[in-house]
């Protein structure tokens, strides 16, 4: 038990995405829960297997957009109707066709900021120190490696090493916490 608690997890490395995907599927079927994969480019096939989700993000972006638009228009209305109503070229105070342009730009800005900030927040970035980098062979992009991680918190962590080897990982190593 002690050895196990010392670790963050074990990773298995593969040369191509496909074996990684199949390996992930096998482990998932074998009942492993605490899995993660590290790939140099997005591998959509993994999403279903690892049940990665981005649910809040689209809503966040939508909310940001609505807020931006409403806030812009509200500010404009306050300024021209309440704070300093003034006759500009005989135009009505609430010249909505003009203001909609600004509301639109405000909406776009709000949406974009919400999306970007949301992505970073949900991914907990920046995370400059992460245990995975302790794995001696781990690299994001130095050479052709696709990794599957079984976290030490997994119930079946004890068998993880063998399980990974069985999936044909070219090497399996432990990841210090």
């Amino acid at each position: 038990m002690t050895a196990r608690s010392k670790l963050y997890g074990v990773i298995g490395a593969y040369r191509e995405p496909e074996p990684l995907v199949s390996a992930a599927r096998t482990l998932r079927d074998a009942g492993y829960a605490e899995l993660d994969a590290f790939t140099p480019f997005p591998v959509p096939a993994l999403d279903a297997i690892l049940q990665t989700r981005a649910t809040p993000l689209p809503l966040l972006v939508l909310a940001g957009g609505i807020f931006g638009a409403v806030a812009s228009y509200a500010l404009i209305l306050y300024s021209v109707m309440v704070d300093y109503p003034i006759d500009v070229g005989g135009r009505p105070l609430n010249a909505w066709p003009a203001y909609l342009v600004l509301a639109f730009e405000g909406g776009v800005l709000g949406a974009a900021l919400a999306g970007f900030v949301g992505m970073l927040a949900l991914n907990r970035l920046p995370t400059y120190y992460h245990p995975i980098f302790n794995a001696p062979s781990f690299t994001f992009a130095r050479d052709d490696r696709f990794y599957l991680l079984v976290k030490s918190s997994d119930a079946k962590f004890a068998e993880a090493r063998n399980a990974l080897r069985r999936t044909g990982a070219i090497l399996v190593e432990e990841v210090a916490p």
Partner: protein, 218 residues
């Protein structure tokens, strides 16, 4: 692959992000407050004068009327700084050799004006007319503060555009009977609100006419 950063880098990074956000907010609000602070507007900072003239003494003490010195106030845009001769009308009789009055005597003798330091001035590019304000029932003290309590002259109000607009948009509460505008001791009667409303309508004081840019900027 070896770790590039130490574990505390994460916390550090998040702190920095947080501080940056808070800092910008703080700077923004701080600036807006600074612009309105007495430090920037010079409110309540007495300025040194060549002669330490005390409105408190002359107004509250001796009961001089504002118009005795500021003669233009009822007829002209400029209230006017009194000529040296006005000072000398009294001070050729009393305090004839007080040390503090030396500059006055010197000015009268040499014909060289006393260089007073300006205390009250409206914002840049503003054309202000004293006569109309006085005529409509805006008292001296309403803008210049209780000069009868000022040993040395100082600003009572920021005299920024938003301050002017405060009254020009809602003049009624600042009115008093034109007869009393020069009375620093004036205390509002009970029915002041009603009186002010009556004044506003009688003097045809209409904010919609008083917020045009051209009222002050020409």
């Amino acid at each position: 692959m070896p770790q590039l950063f130490r574990p505390r880098a994460n916390a550090l990074a998040r702190w920095i992000v947080l501080l940056a956000v808070i800092g910008t907010i703080f700077l923004g609000t701080g600036a807006t407050f600074y612009l309105r602070s007495d430090f920037d507007t010079g409110v309540n900072h007495p300025l040194a004068q060549p002669v330490p003239f005390s409105h408190q003494h002359h107004v509250a003490g001796l009961g001089l009327d504002c118009r005795y010195c500021h003669t233009g106030v009822e007829t002209s845009a400029v209230a006017g700084i009194p000529p040296t001769e006005v000072c000398m009308t009294c001070h050729s009789q009393i305090w004839t050799n007080a040390a503090v009055l030396a500059p006055v005597r010197e000015s009268f003798a040499s014909g060289k004006p006393i260089a007073w330091t300006q205390v009250n001035h409206v914002a840049d590019y503003v054309f202000f007319n004293h006569a109309i304000h006085v005529a409509k029932g805006v008292a001296c003290v309403t803008c210049h503060g209780e000069v009868d309590r000022m040993p040395l002259m100082m600003r009572a109000h920021p005299m920024q555009m938003e301050w002017c607009l405060g009254c020009h948009r809602n003049p009624t509460p600042y009115l008093r009977p034109p007869a009393d505008v020069f009375d620093p001791e004036w205390s509002p009667p009970q029915d002041i609100a009603a009186m002010q409303a009556a004044l506003a309508s009688h003097e045809k004081i209409d904010p919609s006419k008083m917020t045009d840019c051209y009222v002050c900027h020409r």
